[in-house]
C-alpha cells in the first residue's frame, strides 16, 4: 500500500496535466476553425488539423481517464477492434459519398 500512497499524487498530477492538454487542444481546434486562411481555400488542411487534434484528445481520454493504457490487454482488444471497424466504415462511407457523379437535384 505504501507504493500506492506514493502513486496517488502522481496519478492526480497526471489527471490535471491531461485536463490542461485537453483544454489547450480544444482551444486550438476552435481557433483553427476561425482562421480565414483555412476557411477559404485550405479546407483539407483544416480537416487534417482538426482530425489530428480530435484524435489526440480521444486517445488521451481513453488512455489516461479510462485507464486503458495500464489495464488488461483484453479490454483493449474488446474496445479497439470495434472502434477501428467503426472508423473504417465511416471513412469508406465518407469517401464514397463525397464523390457525387449525379447531382442530387436531378435524382
Amino acid at each position: 500500500m505504501e507504493a500506492h500512497a506514493h502513486a496517488q499524487p502522481h496519478a492526480v498530477r497526471n489527471y490535471i496535466l491531461v485536463l490542461c492538454i485537453l483544454g489547450v487542444l480544444t482551444f486550438l481546434e476552435v481557433m483553427t476553425y476561425f482562421i480565414p486562411w483555412f476557411q477559404v481555400e485550405h479546407r483539407r488542411v483544416l480537416f487534417l488539423a482538426i482530425s489530428v487534434m480530435g484524435t489526440i484528445k480521444f486517445a488521451l481520454v481513453v488512455a489516461f481517464y479510462m485507464h486503458l493504457r495500464h489495464d488488461a490487454v483484453f479490454y483493449r482488444e474488446v474496445f479497439i477492434i470495434p472502434l477501428v471497424l467503426a472508423v473504417i466504415i465511416t471513412l469508406i462511407v465518407t469517401m464514397l459519398t463525397s464523390i457525387r457523379l449525379i447531382p442530387y437535384q436531378h435524382i
Binding site: 500500500m1 500506492h4 502513486a7 496517488q8 496519478a11 492526480v12 497526471n14 489527471y15 490535471i16 491531461v18 485536463l19 485537453l22 483544454g23 480544444t26 481546434e29 476552435v30 483553427t32 476553425y33 476561425f34 476557411q39 479546407r43 483539407r44 483544416l46 480537416f47 482538426i50 482530425s51 487534434m53 480530435g54 484528445k57 480521444f58 481520454v61 481513453v62 489516461f64 481517464y65 479510462m66 485507464h67 493504457r69 495500464h70 489495464d71 488488461a72 483484453f74 479490454y75 474488446v78 474496445f79 477492434i81 470495434p82 472502434l83 471497424l85 467503426a86 472508423v87 466504415i89 465511416t90 462511407v93 465518407t94 464514397l96 459519398t97 463525397s98 457525387r100 442530387y104 437535384q105
Partner: protein, 224 residues
C-alpha cells in the same frame, strides 16, 4: 481485498486479487468494455450517416452557410461554435471530475469521492442545459427533424448523444445517493469505475461529434 484499494489503473496484480472469474478479469468490467465496443459501432453508423449526407440538403437552414427562406428572411449559419466550445469543455472537465471521484473511492477518501461525483453530475447537467438551449435556438430558426437532411442527421446524432448523457447523469446521481445511504467501500470501487467508463465514453463521442459536425465546415458541394 485491501490490495484492490488502488489509485488509477487496475494492474494485473490487482486483477489476481479480484474474486476468481473464468477469464481472471471482473465480469462487470469486461461486459461493460464489450458494450462500449458495440456503442462505438452504433455511434460510428450515426456519424457515417451524417458524413454521407453532409452538404446534401436541398433546403435550409444550413450548418455553416446562410440561407434565404422562401419569404425572403435570411437565416444565418445555424451552428454556434463558441457556445458549443464551452459545452464541449464542460464535458471534458466532467471527465476529469469523474476520474477524481473514482480516485477518491479507490483510496477510501469519502469527502473527495462524493464531492467530485456530485460535480460530475452537475457538469453533465450543465452540458444538457447547453444542448437544450442549442436545440431550442435551432428550432426557432426553422431547423427541425423533418426540415432537411442536415436537421434529420444532426438531431438524431446529437439527440442520441444527449440521451446517453442524461442516462449517465441519472447513473451518477444514483451512485451519489447510494453512497450517502451506505458508503461504497474500495473493494466495490469497480461499480464506480464502470460508471466512469460510461461517462468517459460519452465524452469521447462528443470529442468526435464536435470535431466533425461543428468544426469542419460543409462546402456547397458536400466535400471537404
Amino acid at each position: 481485498m485491501a490490495a484492490h484499494a488502488t489509485t488509477g489503473p487496475v494492474t494485473h496484480e490487482h486483477e489476481a486479487a479480484h474474486p476468481p472469474t473464468s477469464m481472471g478479469l471482473p465480469h462487470i468490467k469486461l461486459g461493460f468494455w464489450t458494450f462500449l465496443g458495440s456503442d462505438c459501432l452504433f455511434f460510428g453508423s450515426l456519424i457515417a450517416t451524417y458524413m454521407a449526407y453532409r452538404g446534401h440538403s436541398l433546403t435550409g437552414p444550413f450548418s455553416h452557410t446562410s440561407w434565404t427562406a422562401p419569404d425572403g428572411h435570411v437565416v444565418p449559419h445555424i451552428l454556434n461554435v463558441p457556445v458549443t466550445s464551452i459545452s464541449a469543455f464542460v464535458l471534458l472537465v466532467s471527465s476529469f471530475a469523474m476520474v477524481m471521484a473514482l480516485n477518491g473511492f479507490q483510496t477510501n477518501n469519502r469527502g473527495r469521492a462524493r464531492l467530485w461525483l456530485f460535480l460530475t453530475a452537475i457538469f453533465g447537467l450543465t452540458f444538457l442545459g447547453f444542448q437544450s438551449y442549442e436545440f431550442t435556438e435551432f428550432y426557432l430558426n426553422g431547423l427541425s427533424l423533418q426540415q432537411n437532411l442536415f436537421g434529420s442527421c444532426f438531431f438524431v446524432l446529437t439527440g442520441f448523444h444527449g440521451t446517453h448523457v442524461a442516462f449517465g447523469v441519472l447513473w451518477l446521481l444514483t451512485l451519489f445517493v447510494a453512497d450517502l445511504r451506505k458508503p461504497i467501500p474500495p473493494s466495490k470501487a469497480v461499480n464506480v469505475e464502470t460508471c466512469g467508463l460510461y461517462w468517459h465514453f460519452v465524452d469521447i463521442v462528443w470529442i468526435v461529434i464536435f470535431a466533425f459536425v461543428y468544426l469542419i465546415p460543409v462546402t456547397e458541394k458536400g466535400g471537404f
